[in-house]
Symmetry: C2
Subunit: 212 residues, 2 copies
């Protein structure tokens, strides 16, 4: 019983390997969001793999929102957003009440973190611009916090927040009414750098007593 010298690459699944290779191709060719990546058939040849294996890799990346496929056109790189992912994960995860509570709680925590970061990293000018924006627009809660998350200058936590928002909306909660004055006041405190007042105001905005 002679040990067979496996030609398979040390048990690493092909589609995982393809994902890595693909990442290298993207880097080497300097491809950016919106650009087209090689076709499935071409990748299949270049990487010495079956087209089905290439597809498994692409489907996985698609589910993660890293690429986008358009039938008849090709496959394109995409800026990471957890679209399909969240939608599918939510049906797997948001099953009990506890999970829903966790989503809400976490969303609030992250939003408060963003407020803290904004105060730390930004100056009066940034907040005055925000104030002007609030005055000029019909403020939606998400739009407002998108700007807060942006001011936090941390792409990762911004992504996390986006995902939480998606989860949050997947729970189909009733919207609560928003007053422009509340947001203005919040920005006012941000401008003053008074993080304590900011958070107090935030809790009031969310109708939180003391929790979280």
């Amino acid at each position: 019983m002679i040990a067979v010298v496996g030609q398979n690459e040390s048990s690493t699944k092909v589609y995982i390997e393809i994902v890595k290779q693909l990442r290298m191709i993207i880097e080497k060719d300097g491809l950016k969001p919106g650009d087209k990546i090689p076709s499935e058939r071409e990748l299949s040849e270049r990487l010495n793999a079956g087209r089905s294996s290439v597809r498994e890799a692409l489907r996985a990346l698609e589910l993660l929102g890293l690429i986008e496929t358009r039938r008849g056109e090709g496959t394109f790189i995409r800026d990471f957003r957890g679209n399909q992912l969240v939608q599918l994960l939510s049906t797997f995860i948001l099953q009990d009440q506890k999970a829903v509570r966790d989503v809400i709680e976490t969303k609030y925590l992250v939003e408060m973190d963003c407020l803290r970061l904004a105060v730390l990293k930004r100056d009066k000018n940034d907040f005055q611009r925000l104030k002007a924006w609030v005055n000029e627009h019909n403020v939606e809660d998400n739009d407002f916090f998108i700007r807060i998350a942006d001011l936090a200058d941390n792409h990762l936590i911004y992504r996390i927040w986006q995902i939480l928002v998606d989860y949050y909306q997947a729970t189909n909660r009733e919207e609560f009414k928003t007053n422009k004055e509340d947001y203005l006041e919040l920005v006012e405190f941000l401008e003053q750098g008074d993080i304590d007042r900011v958070l107090i105001k935030y809790r009031r905005l969310r109708n939180l007593s003391y929790e979280s």
Copy 2:
């Protein structure tokens, strides 16, 4: 030019449909983590789809860590952990220094959030147990904060933290030495419910000046 009545199911990709069907099968059969799901060939028949389409769905779920496949045995449900996901995403995301800084910053923020939640939700007894554990073991930083995240009683933020730890370790940073006394002191403040001192102590533990 007569409109063709497509037999394709309203443009929804088959593999996405399979994921949903699979979710229903799991629910209907009451399958739990560790249980085996039907084989690829059986799913292919039951769902009237090609095996390759079934595989695309399974690979996507595998990448998300929702299932685990064992060659020669079958496919099994798994408790959600972002294993492969993180590993792959990290190679896509952790490309520049800014991204790395964001990971670290976010990890710290989440850890502080967990500390806040722990103070809010827990009582002296819980922290005394934690104190005993610290005394009895050679405390690793991650193990300590696993317990903190657990005390925060929020599964979602716990998952987020896990992912952040994975990212963090993917950056290959040098470990910093941990003193048992520091953790004890931290728990002491937790027990007293003094969140301000807790956070100050935490920052010192992480060698943070004021940031975050």
